[in-house]
Amino acid sequence: MSLDFEKEAADIETKIGEFRAKNPEPTGALVKELNRLELERAEKLKAIYSNLTPWQTVQVARHPERPLIRDFIKGICSEFIELHGDRLYGDDHGMIGGFAMIDDHRVMLIGQQKGKDLDEKIKCNFGQACPEGYRKALRLMKLAEKFHIPVVTFIDTPGAFPGRDAEERGQAEAIARNLLEMSALKTPVVVVITGEGGSGGAIGIGVGDIVLMLSNAVYSVISPEGCASILWRDGTKASEAANALKITSKSLLQLKIIDEIIPEPVGGAHRDYAGTMKTTKKTILKHLHGLEKISAKKLTARRFEKFAAMGRFKQV
């Protein structure tokens, strides 16, 4: 599936497809022609992706073929032992977690699951976790603290679930509790925003010593559509709202909200899973190596300082 702003690259892709169908085993000049088309396509994609508007970046971050948490687990971890339940209410499929091996590092891996097909999406509530999801995440983080293994979270959610049951079971309290506990967790926390960083639902597992972000992911206090309908009184002004909200990885690095951008392959993560996994894994490992050397006491003090320093205010 191609996005509307990718049309020029998609047209070349169609051409390549037709060419291959016509010439299943190209030789000589035909190979040359095929290579020329491939190069043209790559250059076009590069040109498009180096100039994405914030609203186009939102489309990429929400791309139906974008790698989801299970893809990252498959691509990065040699082992994953999924653990279930919050011990209080149930097991939220919108938030998964468990023991994982990344190279020779034992970690607790936690993150939102959006689901691939419709059945799975419904089961996962489209990656919108409920209080039991946040409480499961917290339970696993406390376990990681006890076992002295680092926590790695993967953020990809439109937001915490806005439902009646979720409210009644304390969605606000569950997120708030996580913020407080994560800020003082005595083990390293690496956060990776892989797709959509949707507001409170994202920060609920997002208080990290290191916060990484894939280059085409977005992270925002409110969805551009939601912001547009409130401040523009017009939900179709999402593109304007996306500009104003500064939600891209570049803007967030400038604002010092994130620590590092994980560059995606040309044309976005959905075009090259293997490439995406390789860079993501490398970047996580680099930071795990660094963080594991720091004492728990120093780590929590540093994390506190980091979040305490967030914000820009005036003294008048």
């Binding site: 309290e173 913020l179 407080l180 939600i247 967030m310 914000g311 205010f313 008048v316």
Partner: protein, 280 residues
């Protein structure tokens, strides 16, 4: 000659006072109430128990011992980290206008003070300032007041009145949620009491951060308290929600608020709880 005009003027002066000057109408039950009575009753309707929103100053006057108020970090004010502008114009203009109108510099006032002799640190939000929204300056003041409590070994009280994070400061606003909670973790580690008072409204990013992690949760009657907005929820689940959904009373029933306290009894209750918490 002038006397004629003059007399006319004086004669016109003692016109009957405007109705609004003498009485007001309860915004909830529409009952007419003498203004004097309304003010004396701390802006609570004595017929239906409706609690009107208060300014930070009114709250301080109700809760703190006279003369004990000392403002903390009075200089901290809003900023515009994103140079944000929406359909109605720049955020900076809106914020400046709000400052002018309210005499405040941010959506919260923090202070040290005394409740029946017990020294406390306190943060009071004010809905008049951009819907009491949580932004950089708000987060900073709430954090600093918590750190003041830690430094001086005082109990901490936050009175919330907020629609949530301030969109105009985007992601920087969102970061005030972990920031304030990180400060409260310091307070917890120092074993100091934290009482969260939720007033109308306490929603969004404020309910999902400092307001919901108190040792004790107190709410004013019928306050709106919740994470997501009613309309968003109804649209998501395609169901009509009960009338009392997300009210303080509803939250008590579901286990997220300890006590609902009438405004006139708030100071006494805080004193009692602080005593149980070992404060002097």
């Amino acid at each position: 000659m002038g006397w004629f005009t003059k007399t006319k003027e004086t004669a016109a002066k003692p016109e009957s006072p405007k109705k609004e000057d003498i009485w007001i109408q309860c915004p909830s039950c529409k009952a007419h109430i003498y203004k004097e009575e309304w003010e004396k009753n701390l802006k609570v309707c004595d017929r239906c128990n409706f609690h009107e929103r208060l300014t930070w100053k009114e709250r301080v006057d109700i809760l703190l011992d006279p003369g004990s108020f000392v403002e903390l970090n009075p200089k901290v004010s809003w900023n515009d980290p994103l140079t944000f502008s929406d359909a109605k114009g720049p955020y900076a203009a809106k914020a400046a206008e709000t400052c002018e109108k309210t005499g405040m510099k941010e959506s919260v006032v923090t202070c040290a003070g005394k409740i029946k002799g017990i020294k406390i640190s306190m943060a009071v939000m004010d809905f008049r300032f951009l819907g009491g929204s949580l932004a950089s300056g708000t987060g900073e003041k709430i954090l600093q007041a918590a750190m003041y409590a830690v430094k001086h070994k005082l109990p901490y009280i936050i009175i919330s009145a907020s629609g949530g994070a301030r969109m105009h400061e985007g992601i920087v606003s969102l970061m005030q949620m972990p920031k304030t909670c990180a400060a409260l973790a310091q307070l917890r580690d120092a074993n100091l009491p934290y009482i969260s008072i939720m007033t109308d409204p306490t929603t969004g990013g404020v309910s999902a951060s400092f307001a919901m992690v108190g040792d004790i949760h107190i709410a004013e009657p019928r306050s709106l308290i919740g994470f997501a907005g009613r309309r968003v929820i109804e649209e998501t689940i395609k169901q009509k929600l009960p009338d009392d959904f997300q009210t303080a009373e509803y939250l008590v029933d579901h286990g997220f608020v300890d006590l609902i306290i009438h405004r006139k009894d708030m100071k006494d209750m805080l004193f009692k709880i602080l005593k149980y918490a070992g404060c002097r």
